[in-house]
């Protein structure tokens, strides 16, 4: 296929060609950045919580007399354990994707000089560690003696389990077992390392802090009451949770169930990422509409060109050009215009990315998005021009002999 005559013909349609190329360039810039936004949104929703999400549900009670937490715990633990299908019920202060209840700034020295970051403390009563189903990397499971009474927020001096990610942040390269940290006067000693445990709200301090969690065993009491962790067979969990909520009317009539927080961890997770999924959906819609409009533009202009050149096509056919020649002429023409547009579009994509980076917390656009975007647009161009090109190929040679 000779490119020279195509270029010569394009020069006659400079304005229209530039318009299509410009449209492709704009589409390329938006496409690359929108795809990047979608991928980063979807990635955010893939947080590993580290717990058995399918088997766990949270039950949060409010409105009770804060001094009667011990009594409430006893009633709820006893009452819920009797429900059919409940494998275990325990007291915990917070669950992944639920509300924060144990956020604390920590230091790696007793004087409070070396700030370690803001972490989330999962304070759990007996049975909660096993119920969560967290995977251990080092150390052993909490023993009965590890569950100490709380005077203020957490036990004064506790043996704790930290995630691998937090250990690596606090003591890079070192063995975390036996290491200590402080929060004001509260002292913590690491006795175990967890593979994963996401904090309740996925990492406010940036995506890297999502797993800055600590498990603190403690005795339930006035300071640790009202939030319960239910474990049941995944298939039965929704029914168990329904029964548990209904049972509260008799077990603890003096309380109000926090419906938003009393759900399976699975639904808490779904709610938590709903906004991200909606935004990703909107972006997919924008991309679809964008590609549609771009394709419509190409179809429109290509049809016009085909109609305008009917005579020339007829002459070429009469001079011996095959249908395939005509078809490939229009395909190649489109390829050239789109390529020109993509070249400009890549620059625009980067400019748009820079603009987005200054306004939103967004990383730089990875380079591999550009060839992917280019491939999509090339494909789109070829598909869009196919219809008009086939119509061109169908022009009979006899057209050449007619005067208009």
């Amino acid at each position: 296929m000779q490119i020279q005559p195509i270029l010569a013909a394009l020069r006659r349609h400079r304005l229209a060609s530039i318009l299509i190329a410009l449209e492709i360039a704009l589409a390329c810039a938006v496409l690359c950045n929108a795809c990047f936004l979608i991928v980063s949104r979807v990635q955010q929703t893939h947080v590993i919580s580290g717990v058995d999400e399918n088997a766990l549900a949270a039950m949060k009670l409010t409105g009770y007399d804060p001094t009667k937490g011990v009594d409430l715990n006893a009633r709820v633990l006893d009452g819920l354990a009797k429900l059919p299908g409940v494998q275990s019920v325990s007291v915990i202060n917070q669950v992944p994707f639920g509300d924060h209840a144990g956020t604390a700034g920590i230091t790696t020295d007793a004087d409070g000089k070396h700030f370690g970051g803001v972490v989330d403390l999962y304070v759990g009563g007996p049975g909660s560690f096993k119920a969560l189903g967290v995977q251990m990397v080092a150390g052993s499971v909490p023993q009965a003696a590890d569950y100490q009474p709380i005077h203020q927020f957490v036990p004064d001096d506790s043996a704790v389990w930290v995630t691998r990610a937090l250990a690596e942040h606090l003591w890079p390269g070192a063995d975390p077992l036996g290491k200590e940290f402080w929060s004001d006067k509260l002292h913590f000693r690491v006795v175990g390392v967890l593979a994963h445990l996401a904090r309740p709200y996925g990492g406010e301090g940036g995506p890297n802090t999502i797993e800055w969690s600590v498990f603190v065993p403690a005795q339930p009491g006035a300071q640790l009451a009202g939030m319960y962790l239910l474990r049941a067979d995944p298939a039965q969990l929704p029914r168990v949770l329904r029964d548990a909520r209904a049972a509260m009317a008799t077990i603890a009539p003096d309380t109000v169930i926090d419906s938003k927080a009393s759900q399976t961890i699975g639904s808490l997770r779904a709610n938590y990422f709903r906004q991200d999924r909606v935004m990703a959906g909107i972006l997919v819609g924008v991309i679809a509409a964008l590609l549609l409009v771009t394709a419509l533009g190409i179809v429109g202009l290509a049809s016009f060109w085909v109609q305008q050149r009917r005579r020339q096509i007829g002459i070429r056919r009469a001079l011996g050009a095959s249908r395939g020649d005509i078809l490939s002429y229009f395909q190649t023409e489109n390829f050239l215009i789109v390529t020109f547009g993509i070249g400009l579009g890549m620059l625009l994509a980067f400019a748009l990315n820079l603009l987005l980076m200054t306004h939103y917390e967004l990383p730089r656009l990875p380079l591999y998005y550009l060839p992917v975007g280019a491939l999509i647009l090339w494909g789109l161009g070829q598909l869009a021009v196919l219809g008009p090109a086939l119509r061109a190929a169908a022009v009979p040679p006899v057209v050449a002999t007619r005067s208009v």
């Binding site: 304005l15 964008l290 549609l292 748009l352």
Partner: protein, 436 residues
């Protein structure tokens, strides 16, 4: 003449239905997306109290220690005030009106048998709150400053709560139980929820959506032991929630109404003097202060969610592509009609006449795109109302956006029509006539 162009344009558009449909559809998609997102953006960045906002100001003080500032950069002033400072400024009465406020989740127990307790949002505030924010009363009125000082157990309830508990009847004088204390209803508000929820921004409330259910005198409910949603400590100790009044904690928002914006410098001077006094007393280490008018405060705190601005940007980009697309298609149409233009020119039509004719044609495409785009926008807003966002229920097209749709449609189609129309009017008639 215009009617003639209109007729010509309609004829031309009818001649090539596919191309016309493509143009209108593409433009309508772009307009629909733009209007949908701009409606949401306008809604979210709107003025919550248009008649009052220029007079309302939000003062800020900084009780934080120098080496442990409120924000990591040290530049931002604390969002809230301690009880002592808020009360000092309140009692100084340097502004026309002033009120301190905090939000709290409170347990409401309906009177009578079998009433199930439920939680609702409450505002803990002082007497000037209602006149300052122009809160409209259906029944009764707000409380006075004497009620604040005497810790009266009174409450103003929102219309929706009155409907729920009393079936919308005049409930003034009746009692409701809040956090196990009896409160006498002295006022019922009409539906009232300025958007954005400017006074709730840093008090642990929602930025948008439904308003609060109950409004109670701050000092009364504090005496009953109710605690605010948001408390931030600036001292070394953990905050003792029972003694918030003396704790080194910030948890109150203070709004003041000045007689006009011209009074702002004087009030800021007063604030500065107050802060310097506190530095002299050893309570503060920093004497810097802030005073924001309502709209600058909302802008500075970036209340509008990032996602919404991103969506609006995306939609504008999309509209740009649609306009470029329309330019291309209009150009194709007008080039195809070179001969017709040649004939018209030869018969005496001026360049201006040809230009106008093609602009009218572009305008018709724009109006059609606007009508269809309006449909798309309604569809888009319907989609947004089913989103899990705080502002979802507010997403409706108002009259100004309805008109704006056609402005956008006309402007974008006329801009798109400029280039094709210019190309059409510079067609030289002679070669075109010769060719046939």
């Amino acid at each position: 003449m215009f009617a003639y162009y209109l007729d010509l344009a309609l004829r031309s558009l009818r001649r090539n239905k596919v191309l016309t449909t493509l143009m209108v559809l593409a433009l309508a998609l772009g307009i629909g997306a733009t209007i949908t997102t701009l409606t949401v953006l306008k809604l979210l960045s709107g003025d919550p109290l248009p008649q009052k906002s220029a007079q309302l100001f939000y003062p800020q003080l900084d009780p934080y220690p120098k080496d442990q500032p409120f924000s990591r950069s040290g530049k931002k002033l604390p969002w809230l005030m301690s009880y002592i400072d808020a009360m000092n400024l309140l009692h100084a009465r340097k502004a026309e009106r002033q009120a301190v406020m905090a939000l709290s989740q409170v347990k409401l127990t309906p009177q009578g048998q079998g009433g199930k307790p439920f939680y609702a949002d409450g505002v803990l505030t002082t007497s000037d709150f209602f006149p300052m924010f122009d809160a409209p009363f259906q029944y009764g009125a707000g409380w006075g400053s004497t009620d604040d000082e005497s810790r009266a157990q009174v409450v103003v309830i929102a219309g929706f709560l009155n409907d729920k508990l009393f079936g919308g009847a005049n409930s003034v004088g009746r009692t409701i139980r809040i956090e196990d204390h009896d409160f006498r209803i002295i006022g019922v508000l009409r539906p009232w929820a300025p958007q954005p929820r400017f006074y709730a921004v840093h008090l642990g409330g929602r930025d948008y959506g439904k308003g609060e259910a109950v409004f109670m005198p701050l000092q009364s409910v504090r005496a009953d032991g109710m605690t605010p949603n948001t408390v931030m400590s600036y001292g070394p100790e953990h905050t003792d929630m029972q003694h918030l009044e003396t704790a080194q904690s910030i948890w109150l928002g203070l709004w003041v109404q000045l007689s006009s914006a011209d009074e702002a410098p004087a009030y800021k001077l007063f604030l500065g003097n107050y802060a310097q006094q506190q530095v002299a007393l050893g309570r503060f280490q920093l004497s810097r202060v802030g005073l924001w008018d309502l709209m600058s405060w909302l802008r500075n705190e970036q209340v509008v969610p990032d996602d919404v601005r991103l969506q609006a940007g995306m939609a504008l980009g999309f509209l740009l592509i649609c306009v470029v697309n329309t330019v291309g298609l209009l150009l194709a149409k007008c080039l195809r009609r070179s001969r017709e233009i040649g004939v018209r020119r030869a018969l005496g039509a001026s360049r201006g006449a040809i230009f106008l004719q093609f602009m009218v044609e572009a305008g018709i495409v724009g109006v059609a795109g606007g009508v269809l785009g309006l449909g798309f926008a309604e569809l888009g807003l319907w989609g947004i109302r089913h989103q899990p966002a705080q502002y979802a229920s507010l997403a409706h097209l108002d009259l100004s956006m309805f008109l704006f749709t056609f402005v956008v449609a006309l402007v974008s189609s006329l801009v798109a029509g400029l280039l094709p129309a210019w190309r059409a009017c510079v067609v030289a008639p002679a070669p075109q006539l010769k060719a046939s």
